[in-house]
Symmetry: C2
DNA sequence: TGTATTACGGATAAATAATATCCGTAAAAG
DNA sequence: CTTTTACGGATATTATTTATCCGTAATACA
């Protein structure tokens, strides 16, 4: 079981967008070049983020992507769920119903309590999501600023500025 | 991202094995019939559990599987990792290295600290594992005993006994 | 000693999902 | 009117999951 690499790309792209001066936008092409990843495929991830209203895309020259809201209002979970979906990592196929002596499936309308095995797995899933929910892009930006050498930060910012220049 | 259904099968099989009278064993064939799942494929999951020394398999007539240690000593994480692997759900491909101005990869021998994005994902992964680690088969058995109707529990036990009978 | 039973592991096939590319459409800027 | 850009549909490629088949070895029992 592995998250798709869309998740990694989306997170890094959002990280870049989080430190973008107000009013600026970055086209998908540049985000792809910046990270050395395939442009067309990255677009799909960005579109997913757009649908989830985490980033906002603008058409036309000078168009591109920016965050749709403040970095402090965007959690890792928002991003992960946008590209990976909200489905639980564990899917219960109710194999208890296949046992020779099974409980009757619930009369219509009523929902049965999930089986004990599934509940443990759901709780674990929620622990995962809960941690992702607790970290925002603002937190990430703070960490990055603290531990990435200034030379690197400035170098990349300069490259971006040069390539945004039009 | 989804766990493979081997995980569900393995958990339910272990749950059954946990309430098996001492000295008894259940062959893969019966475990498959009991849950209505494909026998040959289930075997792979059981073999994985065997390799991880969670269950122990015995050859020959009257052979089959039993738990390799006490239910209280087997956590959900043990089972999940046996079947699904121990790899983290997030794999960092170090796309930071592709940026125009990257930190130098570490001189041989030294490991760089994982990037800030990856660390958050790793922590979330650990939160997931940590919860799975905290629940054992003994806990599961207690829950099941409490909430599954006696009629169902006994019915299935009877079916098993009848089919183990030889 | 022979026969049935069973785990184990290799090989392979089929189905599904992840990864990737291509292209047409529409919107915006100049 | 031309260029740039997001958006979305269609399709190809590759990897993983799901599933089956079969040969080997060990064990119990007659």
């Amino acid at each position: 079981m592995q998250l798709k690499n869309h998740v990694e790309w989306a997170l890094h792209c959002c990280s870049v967008l989080a430190s973008l001066p107000d009013g600026e936008r970055i086209p998908a092409k540049l985000l792809a070049e910046l990270h050395g990843i395939p442009r067309e495929y990255l677009s799909k991830a960005l579109q997913a983020l757009s649908t989830a209203e985490i980033v906002s895309g603008t058409l036309g020259p000078n168009g591109g992507y920016r965050l749709a809201r403040a970095p402090s209002e965007i959690s890792f979970l928002d991003i992960v769920e946008a590209v990976e979906g909200k489905g639980c990592t564990f899917v219960c196929t109710e194999i208890r119903d296949n046992m020779p002596c099974a409980e009757k499936p619930p009369s219509k309308g009523k929902k049965r309590r999930p089986c004990a095995v599934a509940r443990v797995m759901y709780d674990a899933d929620e622990a995962w999501r809960s941690h992702l929910r607790s970290v925002t892009l603002a937190d990430l930006a703070k960490t990055v600023e603290k531990e990435v050498p200034l030379r690197v930060l400035k170098g990349n910012a300069k490259w971006l500025a040069a390539n945004l220049d039009r």
